[in-house]
């Protein structure tokens, strides 16, 4: 028997594989392909206090081995989300992580408070979306602002708080440490890397928003490096993501120090990716006589393993 379960802030996930926010909706659509009961966790699309319309289209562009997106956090607002999406997810035996966004600290806190008595198991605070002008990334790029919002949310949150970090910073270890010092229960990274694409035939920006967030296979080495640096800097669990499409990709993140991983843009390339990654990790463990996945977390650098 192999044990694939992991523990994040006292919440047990049956395996370390979850969905990355915004790439899987609330699971309704993908449940036609994926048995949600098999996932370690479902992470929902960013939700704000009121409905947000998002950005004009084109919102996405394909790039070599990846994609740019500037959805702009279109979402129905917390009330509809609780009534419809959280109710849908209550039928499944999986951990529910709700991704929260806002324009001000007060908005984030209010969404967090509304979630207090719901079936959300954890909260992931998106302070790193590059596609909205106010809020979001501003909190994720300034250590003081990050400290403040982390503290305020931790005060009010009933569930464990995961701070989702932006890669668009010069010192990722510092940002992770700021979250830990101000009460975060975990950090997740990376959100998308700000990018741009130009249509040379039409001599225009491809995205209506001009810039967008890069995700997909192309960003994996950057993400693995950042997860390694963050995991070295903090004792709280680190959740890794960025370009995971195979079990081997996921294992790279785990060995770099991630206690769990998320699959994002790869869901678009193949809706069964999460299940294939779970099976592939199990196969790797069997083939290599690893009985407990926790033996792999940070195994390339943690002293206890060397």
């Amino acid at each position: 028997m192999i044990d694939m379960s992991v523990n994040i802030a006292q919440v047990v996930l049956k395996n370390p594989v979850m969905t990355a926010s915004g790439t899987f909706g609330s699971g309704v659509e993908y449940s036609e392909f994926v048995d949600l009961n098999k996932l370690g966790a479902v992470v929902t699309k960013g939700v704000s206090l009121t409905p947000w319309p998002g950005n004009p289209t084109p919102r996405i562009a394909e790039t070599y081995g990846g994609m740019l997106n500037a959805i702009g956090l279109q979402n129905p607002g917390i009330d509809t989300f609780i009534e419809r999406d959280l109710r849908f997810l209550s039928d499944f035996d999986t951990v529910i992580i709700v991704n929260v966004c806002g324009k001000t600290v007060e908005e984030y806190v209010e969404v967090v408070e509304r979630l207090a008595d719901t079936n959300a198991d954890m909260l992931e605070i998106n302070v790193s979306c590059p596609n909205v002008k106010e809020g979001a990334i501003a909190f994720g790029q300034d250590p003081q602002a990050l400290a403040h919002i982390t503290r305020e949310i931790r005060k009010k949150a009933r569930q464990p708080v995961i701070m989702k970090l932006s890669p668009n910073v010069s010192d990722i270890a510092l940002m992770a440490k700021v979250c830990e010092d101000n009460g975060a229960d975990a950090v997740s990274l990376i959100n998308t890397i700000t990018g741009m694409k130009i249509d040379v035939k039409r001599r225009t920006f491809v995205l209506a928003n001009k810039t967008g967030g890069l995700s997909g296979r192309a960003i994996k080495p950057v993400a693995v490096r950042m997860v390694y640096q963050a995991a070295n800097a903090v004792k709280i669990p680190v959740i890794g993501m960025g370009g995971i499409a195979t079990a081997e990709d996921a294992l790279e993140f785990i060995m770099a120090g991630a206690a769990a991983v998320a699959v994002g843009a790869a869901n678009f390339t193949d809706p069964y990716t999460t299940l294939k990654v779970i099976d592939g990790i199990g196969q790797y463990m069997t083939d290599n006589n690893v009985t407990d996945i926790k033996e792999l977390i940070g195994c390339v650098w943690k002293e206890e393993f060397l």
Binding site: E29, P51, R59, I60, G66, M67, P76, N267, T269
Partner: protein
């Protein structure tokens, strides 16, 4: 290309398939309209007709007989789902296709059990395709931008000049054409249903890449942004902002 697939059974004209390129360098599927279906033998067949414009369609053009390709579908609502009027044997349907918006008109003409006039617009005589299929399914009027075949001008010019009357309009094509069709529909008081195009990532309604501004509140986000991949691609012309 013809695909042998059990997705053919029950496919509705105006629906599309998500077709996945094989190359690792491409992250996203390509949406292609169902041009024709054939369910006479199991599993059934779907025909896709596409223009090579980039890497994905280039890859598809190298597929040969017995190769396989990953698809998801049929996706979207199709032409009949949003229709509020009754289509009877006496209904006069006007189908308008422009350029690469022409393929879904073939299956639509096949599935409509009423009188069908199709107006197809091409750049020039050399760009014409699917004309035999469309003639087989009803009356066909052709317009070309350069006048090298049929009417000189746009599809809406051809409709005005030929005095074509109808009870219902179905259209698919580039945005300027759809705008002209919406204007015509309003002027003449003929309801029009148009198929929209947007960049897609998931193709199943989860990612919110493909929205189009709508006049009424959408089901998903309650913000007047409908998802082309599941709420469409076909919308009443009066309900989308072009």
């Amino acid at each position: 290309m013809w695909l042998s697939t059990n997705a053919a059974a029950g496919a509705i004209a105006g629906q599309f398939l998500s077709v996945f390129p094989n190359s690792d360098s491409m992250q996203l599927m390509r949406p292609l309209s169902i041009c024709e279906t054939d369910s006479s033998s199991a599993p059934g067949k779907i025909r896709l007709v596409y223009r090579v414009v980039g890497k994905g369609t280039e890859e598809f053009s190298h597929l040969s007989e017995h190769d396989s390709v990953v698809i998801i579908g049929p996706n979207g609502n199709g032409f009949f789902a949003p229709v509020k009027e009754k289509i009877g044997p006496d209904t006069r349907a006007l189908l308008i296709g422009g350029g690469i918006g022409i393929p879904p008109m073939v299956e639509l003409a096949k599935q409509l059990k009423c009188s069908v006039v199709t107006v197809a617009g091409y750049r020039s005589r050399n760009d014409m395709f699917l004309t035999k299929e469309l003639e087989r399914e009803g009356e066909l009027v052709i317009a070309t931008d350069d006048g090298s075949f049929g009417h000189l001008g746009t599809v809406t010019d051809a409709i005005e000049q030929n005095d074509i009357d109808a009870d219902i309009i179905f259209a698919c094509g580039p945005k300027p054409m759809l705008k002209a069709v919406a204007a015509l529909s309003q002027k003449r008081g003929i309801p029009a249903y148009i198929s929209m195009e947007e960049r897609m990532a998931c193709g199943i309604g989860a990612c919110l890449s493909c929205v189009t501004p709508s006049s009424d509140i959408d089901d998903h986000s309650k913000v007047k942004n409908k998802r082309v991949c599941v709420d469409g691609p076909v919308f009443p012309a009066s309900e989308v902002r072009l």
